[in-house]
Symmetry: C2
Subunit: 426 residues, 2 copies
């Protein structure tokens, strides 16, 4: 019991502080999630982490405490439900409609950061080739959770830029996974990577995404038509039709898809997004969106606070590290901005300067994906400890810097259309 | 990451199986939660627990696995949100309105099971006095979660019997806590209990409940009137009034109240219930009920499955144990039935035979509270291992047996009014 009493206390404190941070930032006209991330940074660094470790029983460096296991799980469930909600608002035909622009956006948005990240480390000297490759890989993955939250909060799911960003982020994650697989393969086998293993991983990932889209496009409508016809038949006979809880069913699909995505090496959120997309055609009719949003609004704060918890300010002692972080952040933002903006423009000639900027900025946040890749590199002994800190800082800071820029770009472009969702309705 | 991939898998499997169990039992006209508990029993006992331990990574005897820590936390959060939802539908004046009947119902419903449980163990011989006291204490506490679920599902929150049951369950938990404190004190100090410590615990518990009710009755309406007047003033000035997310605020209060309840030795669910009651006057207007229910419907299955997971069928090898379990279950059910029904009747002369039965049966399930008390006794070395198994089986079986009886009693009495909530709407 002691264990759960501590969990309850830690949850209550984190949740209350996160909402306080969110409200304060909202009052300042900034995205509330930045306030939540900063609360996480505060919690992690007040009194050198003593508050976090002694009062909240959160230890996340080295062996995780039982309490942190639970908080981490709630955080991950939060972002899974967030992307599930985003999926519920993304119809397949809209996703496919932004196909070419999204594809080129994703490809250039992967290639440029990877090359720049690896080149920087090679140029600095003192690190080996594998280390440079991991640095490049950690620069690649866009964390769509943060951008998705802003798009959702502004109710701009339906504009062209949002669709390209969401579609590109899915492709980006698949490509990022491929890059990670290559880099991991290279670091493990001195003699070069095993092409067969690599091919299998790539095929699995692409197949997963395509099958999910195929199910959403071709199979789900048929199941729905079949059920609909059956229920009308039963009703015509004067009996009450068989109904089932659609939210529960959708959540089951979401959890399994999230698991499957993780299982084949993609991020869980991609599975959750695809699961949501399968129900998008009827999400409104079944009230799935509001219901999923209630769950999200309970869990998502844990995710943003957890992003902040990763930041250990005390590691920023050397001036060289600070300069390196600055350089990496500038590179990380510039290469996504140019790569993604340019890619979208090459794929869709109607993309103007303002759309270019929105897409470029929307793809900037690295969130937890970069941190995950870096921690794989760290655990494999390939990435050095100082570069790990650099990647974590880069991931967190791109996540903090991009949202206010994105939301002001959106506001300028869609000044007549956007709507900040009142806190009340979330 | 490995850790969370396993958590996702375990969650998905448990959630899907639980809903399957619920649907099958619903089709049979039985409460779905029984199906969920049976799924838990199945999971725990298939192949001697190999499926649970090896596939789902759940080890709950001895050192808990990381996965089980998370599943257990979700389960507890589920029952916390369930009682929070029940609280949202319980207005203070309704709770206080059933005062005398609920009070006598709770008192007799505590005294009779305690005396009977202790007397049985003393009568059997071979156990010491402390062991008998713990057995009595474990017989005391009603787990209102299961009854609350049935009442909510049938939309019978407003009938007299439901109000008495809910009010009595709150008082019952306070009394149960007092009994536990006495028994624990006796077992720790050979020379008798420390009356000062005991008095402090009792005062804390009673004060907690009374203060919460006082806040709900006197302070919350004033805060609401103040906010309301302020918002009208701001609106009159042509500005948009300050709004805040009521669900989030209510959840924060719920988590802190649940923690406080645990902290002073009550069950977390009592805090959650009282927190819900504070918002009951405006829960409907603010849409809190449906939102809280979405969260509950995601989490509550983990609670019922977890009740089933506690059952280790392989411990039922000795015929003596099986007979003892049978005797304890009969005693546990009879004493609650007579004690609670009679208490309610003494307090409210309008209670007829059918209301007597509903209240008596509604107070029968012991759920996890009995298990918690038994495990305290086991860990303190006071309760023997076989009696622990007996208590667990008694808790689970009263929880399984009571709901179908209760729901058929309700159906008979309120055949024109009850409504089985369609699966769809939950």
């Amino acid at each position: 019991m002691e264990f759960f009493v501590q969990v309850l206390f830690t949850m209550a404190v984190i949740f209350a502080l996160a909402r306080l941070g969110s409200i304060v930032f909202g009052k300042l006209g900034l995205p509330g999630l930045i306030g939540e991330i900063l609360i996480g940074i505060l919690i992690a660094n007040i009194a050198g982490g003593a508050f976090m470790e002694d009062v909240l029983d959160i230890t996340l460096h080295g062996e995780w405490s039982d309490t942190y296991n639970v908080i981490y799980s709630l955080a991950e469930l939060g972002v899974i439900f967030l992307l599930f909600s985003v999926g519920l608002e993304t119809k397949v035909k809209d996703l496919l409609g932004s196909g070419k622009a999204a594809m080129l956006c994703a490809v250039l948005g992967v290639v440029l950061p990877f090359v720049a990240g690896a080149a920087l480390i090679i140029g600095l000297g003192g690190y080996d080739m594998n280390c440079a490759m991991f640095m490049g890989a950690a620069m690649v993955a866009t964390s769509v959770g943060i951008t998705a939250r802003i798009i959702k909060d502004m109710r701009l799911m339906d504009v062209k830029e949002s669709r390209i960003i969401i579609a590109a982020a899915v492709i980006d994650d698949v490509l990022g996974m491929v890059v990670l697989a290559i880099v991991e393969g290279m670091s493990e086998s001195a003699g070069g990577i095993n092409m067969v293993d690599l091919a299998i991983i790539i095929i699995k990932a692409v197949a997963f995404v395509l099958i999910a889209i195929g199910i959403a496009k071709y199979i789900v409508p048929r199941i729905y038509d079949f059920m609909d016809a059956r229920n009308r038949r039963i009703k015509a006979q004067g009996k009450s039709p068989y109904t089932f809880n659609k939210l529960i069913f959708a959540i089951i699909v979401c959890l399994f898809m999230a698991y499957l995505a993780e299982y084949i090496g993609l991020a869980a959120i991609i599975g959750a997004f695809l699961a949501g997309m399968m129900f998008a055609e009827h999400a409104w009719e079944w009230g799935l969106e509001t219901k999923a949003e209630s769950i999200t609004s309970f869990l998502i704060s844990f995710f943003f606070v957890n992003v902040g918890l990763q930041v250990d300010i005390s590691s920023l002692t050397s001036m060289d590290t600070v300069i390196l972080i600055g350089a990496v952040i500038v590179l990380a933002m510039l290469t996504k901005y140019i790569g993604c903006g340019l890619g979208a423009k090459l794929g869709d000639r109607t993309i103007d300067k303002s759309s270019f900027s929105i897409i470029g900025v929307g793809m900037m946040p690295r969130g937890e994906v970069g941190i995950i890749i870096a921690s794989i590199g760290l655990n494999a002994g390939v990435l050095s400890g100082d570069l790990y800190t650099v990647v974590v800082m880069m991931s967190v800071l791109t996540t903090i810097i991009a949202p206010p820029i994105l939301s002001s770009l959106f506001k300028r472009k869609y000044k007549d259309e956007y709507a900040i969702m009142p806190e009340d309705e979330l």
